[in-house]
Homo-oligomer: 333 residues x 2
């Protein structure tokens, strides 16, 4: 069960005394966020707005939405990061931890990987259980490396686009990744960023899932999109309008480099980059988006939509080279 750190929310409200607040969290956690909002109104008698737009991470807190509402604080729930506040303290990052146990899947995993050296990783929701799973794996004869935090990440933690602990553990001799959690999205990212075999410990289905094949499929799709874009005459270069995805400098750098290769570039900007929204745009052979790398690796589009690492690989291909290991990086930006 997901448990939101409501004590922290209430402490901040007591300290700051806002006239109203806003709360948001990942889609799957919205019922708990609604309950936390009701709790705030019950406890403090102030309006507590649930921001029901997506929040995909600390890059996408919807601070502008909370400010437009006049909320005194925005509580962004479920995206644990090293820094506990963003936006000069306006956005308070609140932990939401899942208390489901890994006992059975950890024991099964230990049997599979006994004698090997693995990197233990997880997403925000299972961080408090890294120690217990480490112990269980080691008790079963697995050597466990816990990669140190880096960027926005705590030790052992990964995001969809950021994998520093995975890179560090790989450098320290890990031969495989063990990702704690149900999210194939995160586990496949870990596999792609390290190039190592990767297993997800799914505590809900009670199974150890090898995601290496899924990652390889994503890698091949990402490479295919690069080659499909190589002959494009006109590129749409999309800047994301979410506060942490607004990489204008990268966009203008890629525009310059694509123009130097003789291509036309049209500048675009949008909040949510979906296949549906791109349909209305005509006269464009391929897109490059600088908003979020996972948009490109995880969604089907009719025309190629490249992320920044793919676009850099494309430029290498245009110049007669190889795309290279373009996703083998600790941060896909």
């Amino acid at each position: 069960m997901i448990r939101i750190d409501e004590a922290r929310i209430h402490d901040v409200i007591r300290q700051r005394g806002p006239a109203s607040v806003a709360l948001n969290g990942p889609d799957g956690m919205l019922p708990q966020v609604q309950a936390a909002a009701s709790g705030v109104t019950r406890e403090f008698g102030i309006p507590a707005y649930v921001l029901a737009d997506t929040t995909w991470g600390s890059c996408d807190t919807n601070q502008a939405g909370a400010e437009a509402l006049g909320a005194g604080v925005l509580f962004n729930i479920g995206h644990t990061i090293g820094m506990r506040e963003l936006g000069g303290g306006y956005v308070v990052m609140v932990d939401a931890f899942d208390d489901i146990g890994f006992g059975r899947v950890a024991a099964e995993c230990a049997k599979m990987l006994s004698g090997r050296t693995v990197s233990l990783l997880t997403d925000s929701q299972h961080l408090p259980q890294v120690g217990a799973v480490r112990d269980a794996l080691e008790a079963g004869g697995v050597r466990v490396v816990v990669g140190a935090g880096g960027g926005q990440l705590n030790d052992a933690q990964v995001f969809g686009c950021e994998f520093y602990p995975a890179a560090k553990a790989a450098a320290d001799g890990a031969e495989a990744n063990v990702f704690m959690g149900q999210s194939s999205f995160h586990a496949a990212g870990v596999a792609l960023s390290t190039g190592l075999p990767t297993y997800a410990l799914d505590p809900y289905f009670g199974e150890v899932r090898d995601v290496t094949g899924l990652a390889q499929k994503m890698q091949r799709r990402a490479a295919a999109a690069i080659y499909a874009a190589a002959d494009a005459r006109t590129f749409g270069l999309i800047v994301g309008l979410k506060e942490g995805q607004l990489s204008r400098v990268t966009a203008l750098r890629l525009r310059r480099e694509l123009e130097a290769e003789g291509r036309e570039v049209q500048l675009l900007a949008m909040s949510s980059i979906t296949a549906d929204r791109l349909e209305s745009l005509t006269g464009i052979d391929a897109f490059v988006q600088v908003a979020c790398p996972r948009i490109s690796t995880d969604n089907p589009f009719r025309r190629p939509v490249l992320s920044v690492p793919q676009a850099d690989a494309l430029l290498r291909v245009m110049r007669g080279g190889e795309p290279g290991e373009f996703l083998r990086a600790p941060h896909w930006l």
Copy 2:
């Protein structure tokens, strides 16, 4: 063919000398907006971003998106309003007129409605042709009333939510509405706001379309949603996060009134209110949204999603009354 007033765009750029600009327009006009953006870069050598998020009207210009990009001016295309600038001059409203002729459909309409008194109305794209269609109808024996502008609207103009000229013409004795344009969306709104038989002159299909039945169906669906919401225990009250849809005062008024009727109210906020986004929200029996009335009248939802006029009708029903002619109003806010 849609013709954007590019001369105005270039004049404003010459006067203000921005380092970059942003442009947006309705989805159906995006190819022309893209061409206008390319024209700006060709003429002035500055970045011109096409904002490819939806812009449904002058309530939804995405000024925040343009500002986030650092654009010096936002050109919002295709939403002609009485005021030619918004946001303290930051948003420049640019006309986009469709030059397709109404000759044949106007003649056909004149035959159908000869001897009657009609209100002539249209959306932003066909405003320059009101005079010609008026002449054609009058030549065919139709009495034509052109309702005076009001609110944001020019003479004869309507939006999806605002219908002052229609109301004025009805008060001046119009027995039916004649809407110039293909948009059943606008024509049905005109029918609902006036309660008069309404005909759309579709210059593309070359037909006169009676939209009165469509409007009646929408009216019945809107009434059904009100009655379906009457037994709801818990309401989700949604504030829209688009700059012209942020009616917090109305939201808090409706919350107070619903609570006075013994209902629980959860405050929500979001940018785009879609059936899909609402699915993640649990423990809510019905929604009220204060963002845009057309969201409620034009989309299917699993749970009732009431607009402001519907919510006010609901309160009348809760208090033992009738819903009343809740859409018979010149502005649905």
